[in-house]
């Protein structure tokens, strides 16, 4: 009960901060629209649907990276991670709340990305929507963990993509596969990825953020 209250309080704080600062979601929306527009003019007419879906997933991954870059900015700029780490709640609550807010921001970006993709390239089916939701869970889990790792480093802008992008390759494979071909297998693959990485990230966050 106490754990849930801490997660709710922290997630509420992240959503409130974004609602007031409006720094992350507008940037993600702008990036989604700009990237899909550029791809629309860059790829030749008659490009296969599978190739176009690959571009959609590239946009989703890089939009997530943009959101993750900003995920720990308030804590980093104002040294607030110290205050959160000293609180007696389980430190995984910090990860869970932050992952929830990353998930929410990414889902909002996809509310624009999927219709824009349908407009520029081809319609999206239920499998793509399901894959996007499953991918968001994995991206939020892994991304929040590596975001917390990167926030402590000096080369954080370099470290985050270096850590996150290799871990996102299975999501890309699962997402493109579920969108274009064998839905069931690839959706199951994404579910498995989510289960493994949610558990790993939840269990290891404490060790990532604490020196003592």
């Amino acid at each position: 009960m106490r754990y849930a209250a801490a997660v709710v309080a922290l997630a509420r704080k992240d959503l409130l901060l974004e609602l007031r600062a409006k720094e992350t979601v507008p940037a993600m929306l702008l990036f989604v629209l700009a990237a899909l527009t550029i791809f629309h003019f860059a790829v030749p007419a008659g490009t296969s649907r599978t190739a176009a879906l690959g571009l959609l997933w590239v946009v989703i991954i890089f939009t997530a990276l943009l959101g993750l870059t900003r995920a720990f900015v308030p804590e980093r700029e104002q040294g607030l991670l110290d205050a959160l780490l000293l609180a007696p709640c389980d430190r995984s609550a910090i990860w869970l709340a932050k992952a929830f807010s990353v998930f929410a921001f990414l889902a909002i970006a996809e509310l624009l990305a999927l219709p824009a993709f349908a407009l520029f390239f081809a319609g999206v089916g239920w499998a793509t929507i399901a894959a996007a939701l499953l991918a968001d869970i994995g991206i939020s889990a892994v991304g929040t963990l590596v975001g917390a790792m990167a926030v402590a480093g000096r080369a954080r802008e370099l470290l985050l993509p270096l850590l996150f992008l290799p871990l996102a390759i299975p999501i890309l494979v699962g997402g493109v596969g579920a969108s274009s071909g064998s839905h069931g297998h690839y959706l199951a693959f994404l579910v498995l990825y989510d289960a493994v990485f949610v558990l790993l990230s939840w269990a290891s966050f404490e060790y990532v953020v604490s020196e003592t």
């Binding site: 709710v8 309080a9 704080k13 409130l16 901060l17 000293l86 609180a87 007696p88 709640c89």
Partner: protein, 193 residues
């Protein structure tokens, strides 16, 4: 409350402090002095459990019993004082949090601005809010890094009063460039470089 034996901290080849022995219990007040960059903040971070010592043994109370104020007030600037303190009241699972928050905000002269965003506050007002956050859960170990920074005369007097109140039932560690201000309370001293 704090027990340190042969405590040391290094950053690479640079030795920050070495062979430090400390025993602090309720009613003890450790005054840490020294010039900028001498290691005061590092010692306070180690004593708060935020950084690990490089050597020695250190026993600290549970995190729930520690109140830590760093160089920054450690409050969210896009939130209001009420929202900030409600967040930390939830994290510390404080019973009667709302009443405690009101008492502290009134005491530190912030009740009138309770619904204004902290980003519009002066540095001194943010420091007052940081002090409210630190004492919100009635900690038994107070660790304050340059707590008088940016406070005006009224704010500094409020802090004097708060320290005097906590001095009897808690252990206090204060790093400051202005040791005369708390010299009378100090029972232990560590002087850097």
């Amino acid at each position: 409350m704090i027990s340190a034996t042969n405590l040391g901290k290094r950053f690479g080849a640079k030795r920050i402090f070495d062979r430090l022995e400390l025993r602090l219990g309720r009613g003890d007040f450790l005054l840490v002095t020294g010039p900028n960059g001498s290691g005061k903040t590092t010692l306070l971070r180690v004593l708060a459990g935020l950084d690990a010592p490089s050597k020695g043994e250190l026993s600290l109370p549970d995190r729930a019993l520690i109140g830590y104020l760093g160089h920054e007030p450690l409050v969210y600037r896009e939130l209001t004082p009420l929202e900030n303190l409600r967040l930390f009241a939830s994290l510390y699972a404080i019973d009667g949090g709302e009443q405690r928050i009101r008492i502290l905000l009134e005491r530190f002269g912030l009740w009138r601005m309770r619904d204004e965003r902290v980003s519009g506050f002066s540095r001194g007002m943010r420091q007052r809010l940081g002090l409210c956050r630190v004492v919100l859960h009635a900690p038994e170990l107070l660790i304050l890094d340059e707590p008088f920074n940016a406070l005006d005369a009224a704010g500094a007097s409020l802090l004097d009063l708060t320290l005097a109140e906590f001095a009897a039932g808690s252990a206090i560690v204060v790093a400051t460039h202005d040791p005369e201000r708390v010299e009378a309370l100090a029972t232990e001293r560590v002087a850097f470089g």
